[in-house]
């Protein structure tokens, strides 16, 4: 059965080659271009037909290795590193104490820390309020020291709005100071 199909393939290829040569002689260039691909196209189509049913000449009795599933790909919205994975839990230091025996004492330590944090935050905000309108000295990086009248800060304390900023280039009526550049500020209460 295989040999008859091979015979069929050979005959088809031969016909196409003859056709191709015939057209060559007539120098029909466009048709010639098309027909030069036809033998290859036919071969390809016949190979597809073969693979759907029969075995190949070369690949016989080979079974592909089975696979349980495909490897998982990346999640579209996350960078990964699952914090619930055993490796993460085992290797990552956590800020919260993990032992259950000291849970009550650790709970109160957390509360104390939170209370102190809240108190410090309140003091900072009250200082900012007190600073408004006052002449403040800002100590900044690169040994820069300037005086200005403090106006306000933004919600995240990233920028400080000041008036009459005294700089070596002159006095700036209105200016914004970047908080990350400021090391310290001092003023008379």
């Amino acid at each position: 059965m295989e040999s008859s199909k091979e015979q069929h393939l050979f005959e088809t290829e031969t016909c196409l080659i003859i056709l191709n040569v015939a057209f060559d002689q007539y120098n029909a260039s466009l048709l010639n271009y098309f027909f030069s691909f036809l033998p290859r196209l036919m071969t390809f189509i016949l190979e597809i037909k073969r693979s759907s049913g029969l075995r190949f000449r070369r690949v016989l009795n080979e079974t592909p290795v089975s696979v349980l599933r495909l490897p998982r790909g990346p999640e579209p919205n996350s960078r990964g590193f699952d914090p619930t994975s055993p490796r993460f839990i085992a290797l990552c230091p956590t800020t919260l104490p993990s032992s259950s025996s000291s849970s009550s004492s650790s709970g109160s330590a957390d509360e104390e820390e939170q209370r102190l944090r809240a108190e410090l935050r309140e003091r900072f905000l009250r200082t900012l309020l007190l600073m408004t309108g006052k002449r403040v000295r800002f100590d900044m990086h690169e040994h820069v020291r300037v005086h200005a009248r403090f106006g306000a800060s933004d919600i995240d304390v990233l920028n400080l709005q000041v008036c009459d900023l005294e700089t070596p280039l002159g006095v700036q009526r209105e200016a914004l100071l970047r908080s990350q550049d400021v090391i310290a500020c001092s003023f008379e209460v």
Partner: protein, 329 residues
């Protein structure tokens, strides 16, 4: 009954994969990091290829990536003129080391305390990760861009391959070149096997094996096509190589005979590495995928399952994924 290799394709990268590295064997298995021109190196579980996370932060193509032995730290070298050190458990960036040109290669010492970098500025740098603000030790000498730099001989010496077609062996303390090898073609890849002190080098169509201490040639093997990367099995039974013709070749190390060749990638293969247990090897290609291949085809390992013919036709076969029959030319 003969089994046909089923490679596991790991997708996710959008540009060519140019480098990959395995970690050592850890209590959680072993891991694989892939460097890609899309600037987002990925960490994967080594035996299954499952994605674990992506290291976000580089602003250019990542040319080199490595993991330390315990897979707790990762380092990457990129075209944004930086090398970065990452926490491989959380994915956070730990350190950024600025360079003066594209960084191509990074390598940890066995104790993960020092990082070696090399790149287009032709200088090797050794960073002490305990003192990252300190200036790195520099070793100059190459006359063109460094492609790969590795620690060897118990982290006392450094091997570097550059576009000046030389490989040099440097002493870490004296910073002098102890030995040098010259080639006719540019060296495309270099791998160092500590156990046995073997160096695997590829250039042109040749895969060459050298003794790491003395740089004496052990043997060379010629492949049918230009080879970009090769890797030797930990037991030194065989080695695999991949290159321009998209195929992966498997050779017997002792007899130098070609045992198998595998098609599967849709682009030139840039890097090939064996896993630390030798059960599989990974290949990264221009087509943006990583493929995992079994060393012993048909063995049950990772996601591969050895299935007997009777099982294939029984009801249990639904749980198994059988890849469609491929046309093999």
């Amino acid at each position: 009954m003969a089994m046909r290799q089923t490679p596991l394709t790991c997708s996710g990268h959008t540009r060519p994969v140019v480098d990959l590295a395995f970690s050592g064997i850890t209590p959680y298995g072993y891991f694989l990091i892939s460097a890609c021109k899309d600037g987002k190196p990925m960490l994967r579980q080594g035996d299954t290829g499952d994605w674990i996370g992506t290291f976000l932060g580089h602003k250019g193509a990542v040319w080199g990536a490595t993991l330390n032995k315990e897979a707790t730290k990762a380092a990457t070298a990129a075209a944004d003129f930086t090398a970065k050190v990452w926490d491989a458990v959380t994915g956070d960036e730990v350190l950024t080391l600025a360079h003066k040109h594209i960084v191509k290669s990074v390598n940890f010492t066995q104790d993960s305390n020092c990082l070696l970098t090399g790149g287009n500025d032709k200088v090797l740098r050794i960073y002490d990760l305990g003192k990252p603000e300190a200036e790195p030790q520099e070793i100059a000498g190459h006359t063109s861009a460094i492609k790969k730099a590795l620690w060897c001989n118990n982290d006392q010496q450094i091997l570097s391959a550059a576009d000046d077609k030389t490989i040099r062996l440097w002493d870490k303390n004296t910073k002098e070149a102890v030995k040098s090898l010259s080639f006719d073609a540019s060296v495309s890849s270099m791998e160092y096997i500590p156990d046995g002190e073997v160096l695997v080098i590829t250039y042109g169509r040749t895969i060459a094996f050298y003794k790491a201490h003395s740089l004496d040639l052990i043997k060379t093997v010629d492949a049918p096509a230009s080879i970009h990367s090769a890797s030797l099995h930990p037991d030194k039974d065989f080695f695999v190589a991949g290159g321009d013709d998209f195929k992966l070749y498997k050779y017997d190390y002792t007899t130098k005979e070609e045992m198998e060749s595998y098609k599967g990638h849709f682009g030139p293969i840039h890097c090939v590495r064996f896993s630390p247990d030798g059960e599989l090897y990974a290949s990264g290609s221009e087509d943006g995928t990583l493929r995992l291949w079994q060393t012993a085809v048909g063995k049950t390992y990772g996601l591969w399952k050895c299935v007997l013919p009777e099982e294939l036709s029984s009801e249990n076969s639904e749980v198994l994924y059988c890849p469609p029959a491929e046309i093999k030319a």
